[in-house]
C-alpha cells in the first residue's frame, strides 16, 4: 500500500498543541511519582524501615516493558514507511508485552507477599506496592490507548495522513513515558535499598 502524506501541515506551530498538551500532562503525572519517591526517601530516613531485596521478577519485567517500547517504535517506523506487516505485527508485540508486564508485576507482588512482605508489614513494603501499583494503573491506561491504536492498525486501510500520524505519535509518547517511568522507579528502588 502506498503511504502518502496528505493534508496541509499545521502552520503556526513547531509542535502540535495536542502533543504539547500530552507532554505537559506527562510532566504532571511524573510529579505525582516524584512526590511518592520523595516520601519514600523521607520515610526511609526516619527509621523502622525493613530492608529487603526486590524479587528478581521486577528486573526481568523491566526488559519486557522496554522491549514493548522498542516494538512500538518499530511499528511506528513501519507505519511511516508504508510497511503494513511491520506496522501491524510490531504493534501486536508491543501490546502483548504490555499485558505481559502487568501479569508479571502481579506475579512480583505475589512473590513479595509469599516472602512475608505483605502490604501492611512495613512502610518499606507498603511503598513498593503503592508506587508499582500506581504505575500499573498508568500502564493500564496506556494499554487502553494501545488497544485503540491496534484497532486502527487492523481495521483501517494503511494510509499515512497527518491526523493518523499525529495520533500515533501521541500513543507513542504516552507509551514511552509510562515505560521509562518504570525504569526510573526500578533504578530508584535499587539505589535506595
Amino acid at each position: 500500500m502506498n503511504a502518502v502524506v496528505t493534508s496541509e501541515v499545521y502552520s503556526r506551530n513547531k509542535i502540535h498543541p495536542k502533543k504539547f498538551a500530552l507532554i505537559a500532562a506527562c510532566a504532571g503525572m511524573f510529579m505525582s511519582f516524584i512526590a511518592l519517591t520523595s516520601a519514600y526517601i523521607v520515610r526511609q530516613a526516619a527509621g523502622n524501615w525493613l530492608e529487603f531485596q526486590l524479587p528478581a521478577i521486577f528486573y526481568y519485567n523491566t526488559l519486557v516493558v522496554v522491549a514493548s517500547s522498542l516494538f512500538l517504535h518499530f511499528s511506528y517506523k513501519g507505519f511511516l514507511k508504508g510497511n503494513t506487516r511491520q506496522y501491524r505485527f510490531s504493534m501486536v508485540a508491543a501490546f502483548v508485552l504490555g499485558l505481559l508486564f502487568l501479569v508479571l508485576q502481579y506475579q512480583g507482588w505475589h512473590e513479595m507477599d509469599n516472602l512475608g512482605l505483605g502490604l501492611t508489614v512495613n512502610p518499606s513494603s507498603s511503598f513498593i506496592y503503592l508506587i508499582s501499583g500506581w504505575h500499573a494503573a498508568h500502564i493500564l491506561g496506556g494499554i487502553g490507548v494501545l488497544a485503540v491504536a491496534l484497532l486502527h492498525a487492523f481495521l483501517l486501510v494503511h494510509k499515512v495522513t497527518v491526523k493518523r500520524k499525529q495520533r500515533f505519535e501521541l500513543t507513542l509518547i504516552f507509551w514511552h513515558f509510562v515505560d521509562f517511568l518504570w525504569v526510573y522507579l526500578l533504578v530508584f528502588f535499587t539505589i535506595q535499598s
Binding site: P17, K18, A27, M31, A39, R43, P123, S126, L130
Partner: protein, 616 residues
C-alpha cells in the same frame, strides 16, 4: 444565532483586522453549528470557552454563598455563644441541640462548618471560580485564539469540577456529618474513620470530591498552558502578552506541578484508611484499644499536603494579581509601570512558591535548622511581592484614574495585599511563629492576603469583563456600594483578629467560656460577628446586581467601553463561537500603549505609525 438587532457598524478595528489579520479558514468549516446546535450543547455541555467561563463563575458564586453562610453560623457561635440558636433548627436539624428550650450548635458540626468553609472557599471558589472563570474567558480572547487548544477537555474540566461539587454537597447531608478535621485534612483525624463523626463517610466523600477536583484543575491547566504557548496569534510574542495571561499561565504551571503531589498524598491516605497501611499513622490508642498501625509519620502527610498547599495560595492570588494589573492600567489610562518587572516577579513568585512550604509546619516538630531554610525563602518571596505592589502604586501615581467599580476593587486589592502581606513577614519568622501559630493572627493574615484580596481581584474582574460576558453592564452605583461595604466590612472583621491572635487566642476553638485569659474578648468577638453578617449582606447585593444585569443591565453600545488596548475588545459585542467573525487579528504592539504620542490609547492591533518606535 438569533441576535438582537445590533447595528452592523463597521468600526475602525474591523477594517484593521481585515487588512492586517490573517485568515485561518475557520469559518469555512461551520464549526459553530457543531458546537452550538441546541440548548444542551450551547449552555450545558458547551465546548465554547466563554460559556465554560460563565459556568465556572456561576458555580463558584453558588459555592461562595454556601461557604459564606457557613462562616456566619460559626461566627454566631463565637460571637454569641449564649444565645438561643433554636431558630436554626429547621435548617441544621439535629446539629442544633435543644436543652431546656435553648438551642446550641453541636461542637462536632462547628468543626464540620469550619472545615467545609475552608475547603469550599479555597478550592471551589478561589481556585475553580477565579482561575477557571478568567483563564477560560480571557486566554483565548486575549492571545487571539478561536478557542482553547482542546475545547473537549475544557468541557470535561468544568464537569469534573461540577461532579466534585455534587459529591461535596452530598457529604453535607450525611447523618454523621461532613468531614470535620480541618481543610488540611491532617491524619490521624483524616486517616482513622473512627477518629470523629466526620472522619468516616464524610472524609471518604471529601477525598473523592477532591480527587475529581484535581482532575478538573489538571485538565484545565494543561489546556491553559498549551493555549498560551501554542495558539497565540500572529505577532503576539510572549513579551506582548497582557499581564493577565502571564498570571494565568504561571498559575496553570503551578497547578500542574503541585496538584499531582496532593494526589499522591491522598493515595497514601486512602491506603491508610482502607487497607491498613501505616504511612501516616503511628502507634495510636482509640477508645482504650491499641491499633495495629506502627511507625507512620503524620508529618509526612503535612509535607505532601503543603507542597501543594503553598503553591495553592499563589494559584489563588496570581490570577487576582493579573486581573488587578490589567484593570489598574486601563482605568488609570497609563501603561502598567514596569511591565517586565511584573512578569519577572510573577515568575519569581511562582518559582519561590515551591520552596517555602514548610513554613506551615514550623511548630509541627520539624528540624529547626530546616526551618531556617524555609524562613529565608519565605522572606525572599516578599521581594517580588513588593515589586508588584510598588508597580501598582506607581501605575496609579499621576494617572487620570477613573473610579469605576472595577478599579475601586483593584485599588482595594492593593490595600489588602499590603496589609495582609506585612503580617506574613511576622509569621514567616519561625521564632515569632512560636507565639503566633494557630492563633487568630494567622486567621487574620491569610484571610486578608489571599481570601479577601483574591475576592477583590475576582470582583474587579467581574465588573470589568461583565460586558464582554453578557453584552451589558453591571449597575455602577450598586457596585460602588458593594465596594465600600466590603472593604470596610472586611477590615472590621479581620483587623481585630490580629489583636486576638497576639493575645494568644487559638483558632478553631468552639468556645472560650472556660478560658479566663480570653473572656474579655467576648465583645470583640461580637463585633467581628456583626461585621461578618453585614459584609455578607453586601455580597448578596452583588449577587442581585449580577443576575439583574444579565437580563436588565445597561446594554453595551460600543465594542470597547473602557478604551482598552487588548484583543478581547475587538470582538463583536455578541461574541459568537470562534470569537472573531472574519480573520484573526494580528498583534502589532504590546498591551499597554496608553497615553502614548498624545493618544488616549492605541489598540494592540494597530500597526506602528510611521516613525513610531515600539519601545515604551
Amino acid at each position: 444565532m438569533a441576535s438582537v438587532a445590533t447595528k452592523p457598524i463597521v468600526e475602525q478595528d474591523d477594517l484593521i483586522i481585515e487588512e492586517y489579520g490573517y485568515d485561518d479558514h475557520f469559518h469555512d468549516h461551520h464549526h459553530g453549528d457543531k458546537y452550538q446546535s441546541n440548548f444542551l450543547t450551547t449552555y450545558v455541555f458547551s465546548q465554547d470557552h466563554k460559556i465554560i467561563a460563565k459556568q465556572f463563575l456561576i458555580t463558584g458564586m453558588f459555592w461562595a454563598v454556601v461557604g459564606g453562610l457557613m462562616s456566619l453560623v460559626f461566627r454566631l457561635q463565637l460571637g454569641f455563644p449564649e444565645e438561643n440558636m433554636a431558630w436554626l433548627k429547621p435548617v441544621l436539624g439535629k446539629w442544633i441541640n435543644i436543652n431546656d428550650g435553648i438551642g446550641t450548635l453541636s461542637p462536632e458540626f462547628y468543626y464540620a462548618l469550619v472545615t467545609m468553609h475552608g475547603t469550599i472557599i479555597v478550592f471551589f471558589v478561589l481556585t475553580a471560580g477565579l482561575s477557571g472563570t478568567f483563564s477560560n474567558l480571557l486566554i483565548p480572547l486575549q492571545v487571539g485564539a478561536r478557542d482553547m487548544a482542546s475545547p473537549f477537555l475544557n468541557m470535561l474540566s468544568y464537569w469534573f469540577f461540577f461532579l466534585a461539587g455534587v459529591i461535596m454537597f452530598l457529604s453535607l447531608f450525611l447523618s454523621t456529618g461532613p468531614f470535620s478535621g480541618g481543610w488540611t485534612a491532617y491524619p490521624p483525624l483524616s486517616a482513622l474513620p473512627q477518629a470523629s463523626s466526620g472522619s468516616g463517610a464524610g472524609m471518604t466523600l471529601w477525598l473523592l470530591s477532591l480527587v475529581f477536583f484535581v482532575v478538573s484543575v489538571l485538565l484545565g491547566g494543561i489546556n491553559y498552558i498549551t493555549t498560551v504557548l501554542n495558539l497565540r496569534t500572529k505577532g503576539m510574542t510572549m513579551w506582548r502578552l497582557p499581564l493577565t495571561i502571564w498570571a494565568f499561565f504561571v498559575t496553570a504551571v503551578l497547578g500542574l506541578l503541585s496538584f499531582p503531589v496532593l494526589v499522591s498524598g491522598f493515595l497514601m491516605l486512602m491506603l491508610d484508611r482502607g487497607l491498613g497501611t501505616s504511612f501516616f499513622l503511628s502507634e495510636i490508642y482509640i477508645g482504650g484499644q491499641a491499633l495495629d498501625h506502627v511507625g507512620g509519620s503524620p508529618i509526612l502527610y503535612q509535607h505532601l499536603f503543603w507542597f501543594l498547599g503553598h503553591p495553592e495560595v499563589y494559584i489563588i492570588i496570581l490570577p487576582a494579581m493579573g486581573l488587578v494589573s490589567e484593570v489598574l492600567s486601563v482605568h488609570s489610562r497609563k501603561p502598567i509601570f514596569g511591565y517586565k518587572a511584573m512578569v519577572y516577579s510573577i515568575l519569581a513568585i511562582g518559582f519561590l512558591s515551591f520552596i517555602v512550604w514548610a513554613h506551615h509546619m514550623f511548630m509541627s516538630g520539624v528540624n529547626p535548622f530546616i526551618s531556617n531554610f524555609f524562613v529565608i525563602f519565605t522572606l525572599i518571596i516578599a521581594v517580588p511581592s513588593a515589586v508588584k505592589v510598588f508597580n501598582w502604586i506607581a501605575t496609579l501615581y499621576g494617572g487620570n484614574v477613573r473610579f469605576t467599580s472595577a478599579s475601586l476593587f483593584a485599588i482595594g486589592f492593593v490595600s489588602l495585599f499590603i496589609s495582609g502581606g506585612l503580617t506574613g513577614i511576622f509569621l514567616g519568622n519561625s521564632a515569632i511563629d512560636i507565639q503566633l501559630h494557630d492563633t487568630y493572627f494567622v486567621v487574620a493574615h491569610f484571610h486578608i492576603v489571599m481570601g479577601v484580596a483574591a475576592f477583590f481581584g475576582m470582583f474587579a474582574g467581574v465588573y470589568q469583563w461583565f460586558p464582554k460576558m453578557y453584552g451589558r453592564f453591571m449597575n455602577e452605583t450598586l457596585g460602588k456600594i458593594h465596594f465600600w461595604g466590603t472593604i470596610i466590612g472586611s477590615y472590621a472583621i479581620f483587623w481585630p483578629m490580629h489583636y486576638l491572635g497576639m493575645a494568644g487566642v487559638p483558632r478553631r476553638y468552639y468556645s472560650f467560656d472556660s478560658f479566663d485569659a480570653f473572656k474579655h474578648f467576648a465583645e470583640m468577638n461580637q463585633f467581628i460577628t456583626v461585621a461578618a453578617i453585614l459584609t455578607f449582606a453586601f455580597q448578596i447585593l452583588f449577587v442581585i446586581n449580577f443576575f439583574y444585569s444579565i437580563w436588565k443591565g445597561k446594554k453595551m453600545t460600543t465594542k470597547n467601553p473602557w478604551g482598552a488596548t487588548t484583543l478581547e475588545w475587538t470582538t463583536p459585542i455578541e461574541t459568537g463561537h470562534g470569537n472573531w467573525p472574519g480573520k484573526i487579528p494580528a498583534v502589532q504592539r504590546w498591551a499597554y500603549d496608553y497615553g502614548k504620542d498624545g493618544k488616549d490609547f492605541i489598540a494592540q492591533i494597530e500597526p506602528l505609525a510611521e516613525g513610531e518606535s515600539e519601545t515604551h
